[in-house]
């Protein structure tokens, strides 16, 4: 149902302002100290257009870092429970995410809808429209083309903008995208016939996914995990900035007789992640946890959910305090 239009930068800002005035919550890349990250904007002047990648992914719009599952109130022998109201979820627009981030919602949605449907995630995702921007530059950490992605990939986006002369080629990809465009259709002019590929950055493949997957499948007992994971310090930085990591913890925020049960981001890299109350820990060394991370994303998820758990955004490597560099490890597995 794809439709092509053209939108100038000025009209784009006008359109975003209209959406803002309509009451939509708009998240876009903004300066946060020395970093560029998603933040809610009140003015289009805050938006950064000139960066390779934001520090965090856009996943928090549907899978927030901390989220209330329900509230409770105890009174003598009884308990009253409160469900979070789905009508309190605001209509949101994430603007300026890259194709790797939009594609990251696919593995997330797969996990959250596997057998049991996670309505908290689904409700937030439904109230969110993704307006992505294609990539005209990349850095040494990017590898989207090696994992079935690309700088102009449309997977997961509702509208994909590609920077062309003085404006953007706008691909209206879904019904949601069309509805959003119609908030002020005058901003969108007819397609000028720009050839998208001419504007995208050229990113050659850095490894062959099938080869890596084959190697991984037979590598469970390999000493490569110990060698690769020596410098890993076991923090959660890679998991938290990753657009596809969905692991979470469930905790109680108790205040006397009242409280909330919430979920918050967690990482398979933490020591305690798999530890039993008895003290037994199935993955007690960092090398076992590093192996889990790679196998889960590149072997188990494709096997069970038919989707690769990585979109090649490179954030994990940029965020890692000790330069674990996932891409480097994948290339070495390939060779």
């Amino acid at each position: 149902m794809m439709e092509k239009r053209y939108i100038s930068l000025i009209s784009l800002k006008r359109w975003l302002e209209k959406l803002n005035n309509d009451g939509k919550h708009i998240y876009a890349p903004v300066h946060k100290g020395e970093k560029i990250d998603f933040g809610r904007i009140s003015s289009t002047d805050e938006i950064s257009f000139d960066h390779v990648q934001t520090t965090q992914s856009a996943k928090s719009v549907a899978f927030p870092r901390t989220e209330v599952l329900f509230s409770y109130e105890k009174e003598k022998h009884n308990v009253r429970l409160g469900n979070p109201a789905s009508d309190s979820i605001p209509e949101s627009v994430v603007f300026g995410l890259h194709p790797c981030d939009a594609a990251g919602f696919d593995p997330l949605s797969a996990i959250f809808n596997w057998d049991y449907k996670d309505e908290l995630y689904n409700a937030r995702k439904e109230h969110t429209t993704l307006v992505s921007i294609s990539c005209t530059k990349s850095d040494e950490y990017c590898f989207c083309t090696s994992v079935n992605g690309g700088p102009g990939n449309t997977t997961g986006s509702d509208i994909l903008l590609t920077p062309v002369e003085e404006g953007f080629l706008a691909e209206i990809l879904t019904e949601k995208g069309e509805t959003l465009m119609k908030a002020d259709e005058t901003c969108f002019e007819p397609d000028r016939g720009s050839v998208k590929e001419d504007y995208l950055v050229k990113l050659p493949k850095k490894f062959d996914l099938k080869t890596v997957q084959q190697r991984l499948n037979s590598a469970f007992e390999s000493p490569v995990w110990k060698a690769q994971s020596q410098r890993c310090i076991g923090c959660g930085a890679c998991a938290f900035v990753c657009p596809t990591c969905a692991c979470f913890d469930i905790q109680e925020d108790a205040h006397g007789d009242k409280g909330k049960r919430l979920r918050c981001w967690d990482s398979c890299g933490f020591t305690l992640f798999t530890q039993h109350t008895s003290g037994h820990n199935p993955r007690e060394t960092q090398s076992q946890r590093w192996r889990q991370r790679l196998l889960h994303k590149f072997s188990y998820m494709p096997d069970r959910l038919s989707v690769v758990g990585c979109t090649g955004c490179g954030r994990c490597s940029r965020a890692c305090p000790v330069d674990m560099n996932l891409l480097e490890h994948l290339i070495s597995l390939n060779n």
Partner: protein, 278 residues
């Protein structure tokens, strides 16, 4: 939202039984009448039990699906949530989410002999399937139960053990670890794996269901193998650290399987394929 998979059912604690030091059984009733009458589950499934204000803990459903109107869970006081549950009283409210996980394929066992082997606090997951098989006794041929604990006082379901002992259509062998017996103990003395070996059950047309602490499983499987049991005819339940119970939080992964979704019931053959991450 209509179907919040993280929202527990409210349960009233109808009866509390102290099974052994630190081990209690709760009989729970659904507070919502509609759920109470429509709730069903199959042997092998587990639930996430809430102590509101502390969190959730994972236990199997220890009662049988053939007995309606209530569910039971048995747990040992070990950490934050179980200690808080242990302080609750009859009449208090707690939470339950479930039933989750796969089931013992009892349909496939019809007409076969059943050999139940359990140790210590692992009798609860078995008790569900034992009750279920006793309640549908005609479906199965010989039923043998081998159960052991560290000492006499650590045996759980003491009342039921007596019942099973008195039944003519069940063979019950109880044992305690060497040193765990009392002067009037009439059962065996020895670790469960060695008692099984001594018993020397025939693998012919027999399904073995084994539940116990990792060390017991480690030594029982080779005994069964020696006796000629094929791995596809040995069933067990795995435990792993869990939080969501619905295959999303990632904690209970063993290789590419999730204990909460693909388990907790596994065959010996499936276990052989799994990496040793449980």
């Amino acid at each position: 939202m209509d179907s919040n998979i993280y929202l527990p059912h409210l349960m009233t604690i109808e009866k509390i039984t102290q099974e052994a030091p630190g081990v209690k059984t709760f009989r729970l009733k659904f507070q919502d009448g509609q759920t109470a009458s429509s709730f069903s589950f199959k042997a092998g499934q587990f639930g996430e039990y809430s102590a509101f204000g502390e969190g959730e803990s994972t236990f199997c459903i220890a009662s049988s699906p053939t007995r309606k109107g209530y569910i039971e869970c048995t747990f040992r006081e070990a950490g934050k949530v179980t200690s808080s549950l242990a302080r609750l009283e009859e009449g208090d409210t707690m939470g339950f989410r479930g039933p989750f996980g796969n089931t013992f394929p009892m349909d496939q066992w019809k007409g076969k002999n059943l050999l139940f082997i359990a140790g210590g606090i692992a009798l609860p997951p078995m008790r569900c399937v034992i009750w279920n098989s006793l309640d549908t006794r005609e479906s199965f041929k010989d039923i043998t139960i081998v159960y052991g604990a560290r000492s006499v006082v650590d045996l759980v379901y003491k009342h039921e053990l007596e019942e099973w002992n008195l039944r003519e259509d069940v063979r019950l062998v109880t044992t305690v670890d060497p040193g765990g017996d009392t002067p009037d103990w009439k059962g065996e003395v020895g670790f469960v794996p060695s008692v099984v070996e001594k018993l020397s059950p025939s693998p012919e047309n027999t399904i073995a269901i084994v539940c116990g602490p990792p060390v017991m499983i480690k030594f029982t499987f080779p005994v069964l193998h020696k006796l000629g049991f094929a791995p596809e005819n040995i069933y067990t339940t795995l435990e792993n650290r869990m939080k969501c119970g619905v295959g999303k939080c990632g904690r209970c992964n063993v290789g590419k399987l999730y204990v909460c979704k693909d388990g907790p019931v596994f065959t010996g053959a499936q276990l052989q394929e799994l990496p040793a991450e449980y």
